[in-house]
C-alpha cells in the first residue's frame, strides 16, 4: 500500500489509543451537520456549550490555552474554530488521556498560584504568556517543569488537530482539498526545476 500517507498515520495516532464510550454532545461550532447531510435538527446551536469531561473551571483553562496557542490575531483562531469543544469531546471519549489533561491543568494552576498568586485564568494575558513560554519554547525551558512541558505539548497537539481539521483551519491554510481540479496539477515554474528564483523571491 505505497502512498498511503505515512504522515497521515501520525495524525491518527495522536488521538487514537484507548477505550471509552462517549455520548455525542451538542456541539455549537463544528457538529457533523454538514450541508449535504441536511439534518436541520443537528444544526441547532446551543448558546452555551456544556463540557462533557472538563469541569467549568478546567474548561475555561482549556479555552484560554487553545486561544493562546492559535490566537485570533486578525485571522480566525482556535476560538472561532471551536477547538475547546473539540478537545473536550475527544478527551471525554478517551480515558487514556483524561488523567494527563486533568493533572496537567492542575499543575498549571498550582504553578500560576505559586508564581503569581492567582489561578491561571485570573492572570493577565502577559502573566499567562510568561508562564507558558518556558513550557512551549525549547530555548526558554526551565528545570523542574517537565510535567508542565509534557502537558503543554499534548495540549498543543490537540489544539493543532482541532484547528486544522476544522473548516476555518482548512481555509486558513488555503487547503487545496477545498477545491476540485480538472486535471493533474503541474508545477507552474517552467524553466527553473530547482526553484532558485522562488527561493530568492522569498528570502
Amino acid at each position: 500500500m505505497a502512498g498511503q500517507g505515512i504522515r497521515r498515520r501520525e495524525v491518527l495516532r495522536i488521538l487514537g489509543t484507548a477505550a471509552a464510550a462517549a455520548q455525542f454532545p451538542g456541539f455549537s461550532k463544528w457538529a457533523f451537520a454538514c450541508g449535504h447531510v441536511g439534518n436541520a435538527a443537528l444544526q441547532i446551536k446551543p448558546a452555551i456549550y456544556h463540557p462533557q469531561f472538563f469541569t467549568a473551571a478546567e474548561y475555561a483553562m482549556v479555552e484560554r490555552l487553545a486561544e493562546m496557542i492559535i490566537p485570533s490575531d486578525g485571522t480566525p483562531g482556535a476560538k472561532e474554530a471551536g477547538v475547546a469543544e473539540f478537545i473536550d469531546f475527544m478527551v471525554a471519549s478517551d480515558p487514556e488521556v483524561q488523567y494527563g489533561f486533568r493533572m496537567g491543568l492542575a499543575w498549571l494552576n498550582a504553578h500560576a498560584e505559586q508564581t503569581d498568586g492567582k489561578r491561571f485564568v485570573e492572570l493577565t494575558p502577559e502573566q499567562q504568556t510568561s508562564l507558558l513560554e518556558p513550557l512551549g519554547f525549547k530555548d526558554k525551558a526551565r528545570p523542574g517543569e517537565e510535567t508542565g512541558r509534557q502537558f503543554f505539548r499534548m495540549m498543543r497537539e490537540y489544539t493543532v488537530t482541532g484547528f486544522y481539521t476544522s473548516e476555518i483551519g482548512y481555509k486558513a491554510l488555503d487547503n487545496p482539498a477545498l477545491k476540485f481540479y480538472a486535471e493533474s496539477p503541474e508545477c507552474p515554474h517552467h524553466g527553473d526545476p530547482e526553484h532558485a528564483h522562488v527561493a530568492q523571491a522569498h528570502s
Binding site: 502512498g3 498511503q4 504522515r7 488521538l15 476544522s166 491554510l173 496539477p185 522562488v198 527561493a199 522569498h202
Partner: protein, 558 residues
C-alpha cells in the same frame, strides 16, 4: 433434489479472486464466488467527499473503536469497510499490524495503486545472488499477461528503460509538482533515479471508466471507479455473463474433499445466520489473500490431508515475506517556504518514485542483496503534520505553520524481506474465531538484509534531500511494524518440485490437481514492487490454465 455443482468455487474477490472470477465466467464456466464480507455501497460506505468537520470525530474515529482497529487506513471514513471480527494471534516476539478488508473487492477498494511489473532481475534473483530459489516462471512468459492487465486496468506512467523495471503500455503520467522537480534535481546530483511512478489511476478515460477527478480521497474509496478495484473493473464483467453466483458474508472454513482427496467444494459460515453451508464445484480456487488462503488450507484437514489440504510438502504457511515500510527521511524544502498553497495531494497518489537503483550491475555491490524502492512525497497535505515538530505557540507559531505548509517532504521505503524458515504463519492451537475456526498465528521478524536496506535508505535519502537544497529534520526511528504494507507473500509458493513447493508453476497445487491458488501466496518472495498488478497477472495466467484443463477434460464441466 440433486445438489447443484458449479464448475469452479472461488474463495475471495480481491485482485486474485476478482481476476479469476471474471476470466472463468467469461469462458463460460459456472462460478460460485464466496466472500467473507458484504458488498460495499460507495454512496454510503465511501468517504464521498466528506470533510473532517463533517464527521463526528473529524475522521479520527472514536478512541474506543480505534483501540480495536488495526492500521492507518482503518479510520472514521472507511470504518464500515474494515472488519476485525476474525482475529489473529502473534507468537512471542512477533509484532504484526494487519488491517483487513473482507468486503467484496477486498483491499483493492483502498489500495495504493502503484503498479510496477516484476522483472527478470526479480524472477531470477536467486541465480544472480545465490540466495533461495528462482521463480519457476520467466519474465518472457509472464510479460504478455502484464500487458493485458495494464490494458484492462489502465496504468499511468512513462517508459523508463530501467534494468529492474520492465516497461509496459501506459496512460499519460501524473504531472510533476514543484517538489518533484526540486527533488529530481537532488537525485540527479546524487545519481539515483527520480521518475513518475506506475499508478493504476486513470489520467484519462479508459475502457469505459471515467478519468480521475482529483478529489484526493482515493484511499477512502473512489466513488466513480477511476482507479482499479475489482467491484468497478472485474465483477460487473463477470456478472454480465450470468455465470456468477456471488455469496457475501460467507466465511470460508475449509475445502471439502472426496474419498480420493480431491476437492469437491467449500464449507463456509454464513455470517448472518451463523450456519455452516456447503457449496460444490469441480475445481476450487483459493484467493482469500496470502495469510487467509493458507489458514483455509491448513484448516482443511481430512484423512487424506492430516496436515491441511495440498500440504504434503509441509510448506503451506511457510516462507512468509513482507515489505518493510518506514520513513527514511523527512524535512522541508526552503525553496517552497511561504509559497501559495499548491494541490500537491489531489491525486492522493505516488506521483513519483525512486525505483530500485541498488545491486543492478553486480548483485553484491551493496552490503545487502536485492534492492528496495523509495516513494518521495510531500507538499500541501490535508493536515499540517509537521506542526507538532515546530517550536513555540501563538501568532508566530500560527504563521510558521502557514509558511511551512507547502514545503515538507518525506521519503517512504518499500523493501522486501528475505525468505526465511523463521518467518511463517500457522494455526493457533488454542485461539478460535467467533465461529470456532482456528485463527492464524504470525511468526515474523525483519531480517538482517532488509534492515541493512533500511539503514542504507536513510543515508541516501538524507543525501538526496540535502543535494536538493532541502533541510533534513530526521527519519523514522524504526521501520513500521511488519504487516503494515499488506503485501504478504510466499505462504503457498510455486515451484516444480512437489516436495518443496505447494503449487506448480501455474498455481495448481501439486497434491490436489483441481485446487488452485490465485493470490500472492504463490509468489516466491515480495521483490521491491507492489504486489497487486502481479497478483492480477499471475491470476489471469492461472485462470486460463484452469480453463484449458476444463477443455482438456481434466475437470468435467457442469
Amino acid at each position: 433434489m440433486a445438489k447443484q455443482i458449479y464448475d469452479v468455487i472461488v474463495i475471495g474477490t480481491g485482485a486474485g479472486g476478482g481476476m479469476a472470477i471474471k476470466t472463468l465466467s467469461e469462458a463460460g464456466l459456472k462460478v460460485c464466488a464466496i466472500n467473507a464480507g458484504r458488498r460495499l455501497d460507495p454512496e454510503k460506505d465511501f468517504r464521498y467527499h466528506r470533510m473532517p468537520w463533517d464527521m463526528k470525530y473529524r475522521g479520527l474515529d472514536d478512541p474506543k473503536r480505534r483501540a480495536q482497529s488495526f492500521g492507518y487506513m482503518d479510520n472514521e471514513y472507511t470504518k464500515a469497510a474494515w472488519d476485525h471480527e476474525i482475529p489473529f494471534t502473534v507468537a512471542p516476539g512477533t509484532k504484526w499490524m494487519w488491517p483487513r478488508c473482507n468486503a467484496v473487492g477486498g483491499k483493492t477498494n483502498f489500495w495504493g495503486r502503484s503498479s510496477a511489473r516484476f522483472g527478470e532481475i526479480d524472477l531470477r534473483a536467486a541465480s544472480l545472488d545465490g540466495y533461495d530459489v528462482d521463480w519457476p516462471v520467466t519474465y518472457e512468459e509472464i510479460s504478455p499477461f502484464y500487458t493485458r492487465v495494464e490494458k484492462m486496468i489502465g496504468v499511468a506512467s512513462t517508459v523508463q528503460n530501467r534494468p529492474s523495471n520492465p516497461d509496459g503500455s501506459y496512460l499519460p503520467p501524473f504531472k510533476f509538482r514543484c517538489l518533484d522537480f526540486i527533488l529530481e534535481a537532488g537525485c540527479n546530483k546524487v545519481g539515483v533515479p527520480y521518475l513518475p511512478d506506475r499508478c493504476a489511476q486513470l489520467t484519462q478515460p479508459h475502457e469505459g471508466h471515467p478519468a480521475c477527478h482529483y478529489c484526493g480521497e482515493c484511499t477512502t474509496g473512489c466513488d466513480v471507479g477511476a482507479f482499479f478495484s475489482t467491484p468497478y473493473f472485474l465483477l460487473p464483467k463477470a456478472e454480465a455473463t450470468k455465470n456468477l453466483d456471488l455469496r457475501t458474508n460467507a466465511l470460508a472454513k475449509n475445502v471439502l474433499v472426496d474419498q480420493s482427496g480431491q476437492a469437491t467444494g467449500v464449507a463456509y459460515i454464513d455470517r448472518e445466520t451463523k450456519q455452516e453451508v456447503e457449496v460444490y464445484g469441480r475445481a476450487v480456487v483459493v484467493a482469500a489473500g496470502c495469510i487467509e488462503s493458507s489458514r483455509i488450507m491448513l484448516n482443511s484437514k481430512s484423512r487424506h490431508w492430516p496436515n491441511g489440504i495440498a500440504n504434503s510438502s509441509g510448506q503451506v504457511g511457510r516462507n512468509l515475506c513482507d515489505h518493510l515500510y518506514g520513513e527514511s527521511a523527512r524535512g522541508y524544502l526552503p525553496q517552497l517556504l511561504g509559497q501559495p498553497s499548491f494541490p500537491d495531494h489531489v491525486a492522493d497518489s505516488t506521483i513519483a518514485w525512486m525505483p530500485r537503483w541498488q545491486n543492478l550491475k553486480d548483485p553484491h555491490e551493496e552490503k545487502f542483496i536485492r534492492g528496495y524502492s523509495v516513494y518521495p512525497d510531500g507538499g500541501c497535505t490535508e493536515f499540517p503534520w509537521f506542526a507538532n515538530d515546530l517550536d513555540g505557540f501563538g501568532s508566530s507559531f500560527k504563521r510558521e505553520i502557514k509558511r511551512r505548509y507547502p514545503s515538507p517532504v518525506t521519503f517512504g521505503i518499500q523493501a522486501p524481506s528475505l525468505r526465511s524458515d523463521t518467518n511463517f504463519m500457522d494455526l493457533d492451537p488454542e485461539v478460535k474465531d467467533p465461529y470456532g475456526i482456528p485463527v492464524a498465528r504470525m511468526h515474523f521478524e525483519w531480517d538482517e538484509n532488509v534492515l541493512k536496506m533500511w539503514e542504507h535508505s536513510k543515508q541516501v535519502c538524507a543525501e538526496v534531500l540535502r543535494a536538493a537544497g532541502g533541510v533534513l529534520e530526521g527519519s523514522g526511528e524504526d521501520p513500521e511494524i511488519p504487516g503494515w504494507s499488506l503485501h504478504e507473500t510466499g505462504t503457498c509458493r510455486m515451484g516444480n518440485d512437489p516436495k518443496r513447493f505447494v503449487t506448480n508453476r501455474f498455481g495448481q497445487t501439486h497434491d490436489v490437481p483441481n485446487l488452485y491458488v490465485c493470490d500472492a501466496s504463490v509468489f516466491l518472495n515480495c521483490t521491491d514492487k507492489t504486489t497487486t498488478i502481479s497478483i492480477l497477472a499471475f491470476s489471469l495466467r492461472t485462470s486460463e490454465y484452469l480453463i484449458e484443463n476444463f477443455r482438456r477434460g481434466e475437470h468435467k464441466a457442469a
